[in-house]
Symmetry: C2
Subunit: 207 residues, 2 copies
Amino acid sequence: MEVKNNPTMEIVILETAERLFLEKGFAMTSTTEIAKEIGCNQALIHYYYRTKENLFNIIFEKKFKQFFQNIFILENLDQLAFLDKLKHIIEAHFDMVRQNPRIPLLIVTEFSRNPEMVATLKEKLQGVVTSLFESLNTDLQAEIAAGRVRQITIIDLIFTVISINISLFLLLPVAAEIMTMDEKQKEFVINRRRDEHVKLILNGIRS
Amino acid sequence: MEVKNNPTMEIVILETAERLFLEKGFAMTSTTEIAKEIGCNQALIHYYYRTKENLFNIIFEKKFKQFFQNIFILENLDQLAFLDKLKHIIEAHFDMVRQNPRIPLLIVTEFSRNPEMVATLKEKLQGVVTSLFESLNTDLQAEIAAGRVRQITIIDLIFTVISINISLFLLLPVAAEIMTMDEKQKEFVINRRRDEHVKLILNGIRS
DNA sequence: CGTTGAATTAATAGAGCTATTAAACATACT
DNA sequence: AGTATGTTTAATAGCTCTATTAATTCAACG
């Protein structure tokens, strides 16, 4: 029995496939192309991962979890006032999406290709997500009761944060093309939008 | 020389292709499948449209224009105050996206497949869009000067409207699956979000 | 009724893709 | 050195897709 001391190829395949699937989606990426990109034989991909579908599912599951488990990182925020906490949440989520700008599109398109996959994965999240919701909801209700925040459900609030952050990175490529922006300008817009998202939401839920 | 008095097949092909391309995207839709769906011979599609790419481009261009030309319908809004006008704009745009919920995804995914296409089409829009922007911007600047609205660019404001409306219909299928919502509940959420978007933005740009 | 041009189909070339299989290669161990 | 085990490659079967071509059907018209 050998111990895998050098599992590079297996990992190189995974990483290359990950990049290509994120760039071009499942249907537009072939195992032939992944192999060509790496410079290895195409059969090797099937040796390690058996089918393209299987390879994709491994990657998708990883990305899906990564995306949802880190929706909101709530570390050391207990002592903050609700609106400061919310500001941190918006910014942390924004930064997370910024670092993984293509995952949302992957999830949305994969869902329309194969809803089953998402249906299977959701169970693993529900615990994490609902507990997070409840924690935030307690704070929110207190703020509403105190008259500092208008009537709004926690679902709507969270959905707004996710929506507005995600859609920036979804739409920016197209918008940048239409408005002929270069990379520098895109950077600038992204940073301005980060502040804008905070302002809009904090302001937008005032009573 | 015949006059086409019965161009049904040509149109049936276009409509069926349109539906399938919107449902499953370019790569996942084959001309074979379009033909099977219609019940005609596959060569017929190439007879009328020569290539799959060409057929797709015709549809894409149509949808792209449809989407951007109707971004904001500004009819009989002249007499309204800025915030009322904005409310109408948000709601009209929301309703337009609601009726064409899959176009944004089509545009975003097609852009990552072939940015050239969007680059080509943008020129035809720039006139319409910039004049719209300028008209709204005049109003916005007046409001800011009057101290009724906080400092914000017209680009950011419009981007926010588009973002939040689009992302609802982009994310709802996935969100509905994760939260196990039926059609009735989805309807309910959509209607609630419509109000919420108006509230959030009008509130969010207050000074 | 026969001709003409358009619409439709059948057949197929040519390409690319997925997946499998058997052979070659590499490496560690005895 | 020789064997065993894991890795990589070459070759290919089988499938599906796009696009073309030639043949067939259809419809109108003189």
